[in-house]
Amino acid sequence: MSAPEKPSRAEAEALCPFQPLEKYERPLMPAQQSVRLFFTRLWQMLRRAEGGPFVAEAQLKGTRLRKLDAVAAPPSCGPLLDELELTVADWVAAGSPTPRTRLFVLPPCDDFGVIEAWAENKGHPVLEAPTRDSLVSAAPPVVPELDAEGVIVIPRLERWFLRHRNGLTLVRSLLAAIEARRGHCLVGCNSWAWAFLKHTLGANLLMPEPLIFQRFDGPRLRRWFTELAEAEAGTAFRLSRNGADVLAADAKGKPEDDYLEKLGAQSLGIPWVAWRMWRASLRTDEEEKRENGDKKKAGGPGERTLWVMDAPELSLPADHQQNALLVLHALLIHDRLTAEELSQVLPVVGETFIVAALDAAGFVEQTGPEIRCRALAYPAIRRELFAAGFPTD
């Protein structure tokens, strides 16, 4: 992970500092899309086909674009590293900071690790979480002394507990150690884990002003994706359904199409979700023709066109939905879990193949022994959990 270059003046002007969590508002869907979406979801609710795939197949095939990284390169967090630095620069420089602890609550599925990357770039010490199996052992690990000089970074608070009757001891000790620390402490936490810790431990009393990035709505996504696409000059991103250039805007800055507004709303304003949806929606000429037939679309001479497909609406099937939701909820709270840890935090009785089904359908993915929710499926997961009455972030 290399240190990011210093942002230019134009880039710096476009940066948005983090804001209080309670001020975060998800981007709204364009009106016409909202009506269409309402009827689509109503139809899905009434129909609720049984036994079908969890996620539309087209969404899961992944991109077949060879040069995808050239037009939508990682990292998935966009300008967040610079924005985080912009937010905390004065606080880090202060001799006796107020508040001593800054909490950054980020939505789940952040596989890049914004807080870790920032700490590494700036050379701040990172307090690594112990392994999860040690959290519920007879002799749980001891929290190290937080007496180092400078800024101590705890990037993932969600890794310090397990939703198990013995799994809260260490995080309690950690919060007590943070409270006792006199110097800077920067804490990162997944928004679902934060909702849980607020309720169970009253952690919000210790860190009452969590911060979050500003939402990635249509204009922010357009700016970001345009910057990424500049690496491959001469490439146009045209909507498969009408040929409109997704990144183009007229002289007044009005976009040719509201696709990115819709993408911002679909991705809940989360950059890594939007980035994955964006990459998953891109098709080469050949791929587009294969999927939609040989329809001639607009495009200037010498222009290389990438076709942008509309993201389908995802929904869980009726079968075993309650167990599937319990699994997904546990994964969101913990960020990732092994199968054994999952069984420790779930009340499921008897054998279950839910995880295998969710994996096959693309709602979760396995990295080694660990299972986690896919960023691409997160909006659908969140919507289903909310509709089923689960506590959300």
Binding site: P347, F390, P391
Partner: protein, 281 residues
């Protein structure tokens, strides 16, 4: 015949002439009302089950209200078709109805009236979990004369609305989406109560069914047969209440054993026996 005499005769006539009564219209009103009620009874529970859980109790509660208005509308529509409505005739009809009801349909009408009162007072609504005279279950349907409870043992119990006049009705959720669940534990008195209490608190806090909006409480009291712990918490969906209690009980037993305490058993009847008063002197 003068106009005054004609008017007097018209006023005295209780029922319209048969040739003036449109039986087709009456039939259509009855069929239309029946069909509308039939649709409401099918569609609203369907929407309640398929739609977002936030609206479940709203859809379920809408059905009896809608039915009441549909029936009232149908009755008000049909009466002027059949009867010649004047103040005098109204009193005659009311008197005759009172006699018939008083002798023949007293209990039935009492239940009907209690059903109407129940719609406004709301001692129970569809989707609520109530206990009436020892029967605990979910109110599946609120009919004209009775409600249907579905118990945890999957039995359906019909309870006439008239029971409302004489019985206490215990409503566990009262229209809310959650209700308090209690897991009971009885321990031998010699144990570290603070440790057990703390362990039980974590048992509830780490349950997958827990509602974040409500508190978790652990109550204990000494009884003749041991220490009685009550772990009280709320699930995020009241339909999970039995799973939630089971989950807290299973994990609570493990936590108690880990805390070095021992469970005891006691006859069910004894659990309600108060402690004897201390006799002084």
């Amino acid at each position: 015949m003068t106009a005054a005499e004609q008017g007097k005769e018209t006023a005295a006539k209780l029922i319209n002439d048969l040739q003036d009564i449109s039986f087709l219209q009456i039939g259509l009103v009855i069929a239309g009302t029946w069909f509308a009620i039939f649709l409401a009874r099918r569609i609203l529970p369907f929407l309640a089950e398929r739609g977002p859980s936030q609206f479940r109790l709203f859809f379920l509660g809408l059905e009896p209200i809608l039915r009441l208005f549909l029936l009232a509308g149908a009755v008000l529509w049909i009466i002027p078709i059949v009867f010649n409505i004047t103040v005098q005739n109204f009193l005659v009809i009311a008197g005759a109805a009172s006699v018939a009801i008083g002798f023949a349909f007293k209990d039935y009408v009492s239940s009907l009236i209690a059903g109407i009162v129940a719609i406004f007072e709301r001692p129970y609504r569809p989707g609520d979990w109530v206990e009436i005279d020892g029967d605990y279950g979910e109110v599946r349907a609120v009919g004209l004369r009775a409600i249907q409870l579905q118990t945890a043992a999957d039995s359906t119990v019909a309870v006439p609305h008239a029971r409302m006049w004489t019985e206490n009705i215990s409503n566990a959720n009262d229209g809310a989406r959650t209700l308090m669940c209690i897991a009971d534990f009885y321990l031998a008195p010699a144990h570290d109560a603070a440790r057990v209490r703390s362990a039980l608190q974590d048992v509830a806090l780490t349950s997958a069914f827990l509602s974040y909006e409500k508190p978790v409480l652990v109550m204990l009291k000494e009884t003749l047969w041991g220490t009685h712990y009550q772990l009280k918490a709320y699930p995020f969906d009241l339909r999970d209440q039995f799973s939630f209690i089971s989950d807290m009980t299973v994990r609570g037993k493990l936590a108690i054993a880990e805390a070095g305490a021992v469970e005891v058993t006691a006859p069910a009847a004894a659990s309600e026996t108060p402690l004897p008063k201390k006799i002084s002197g």
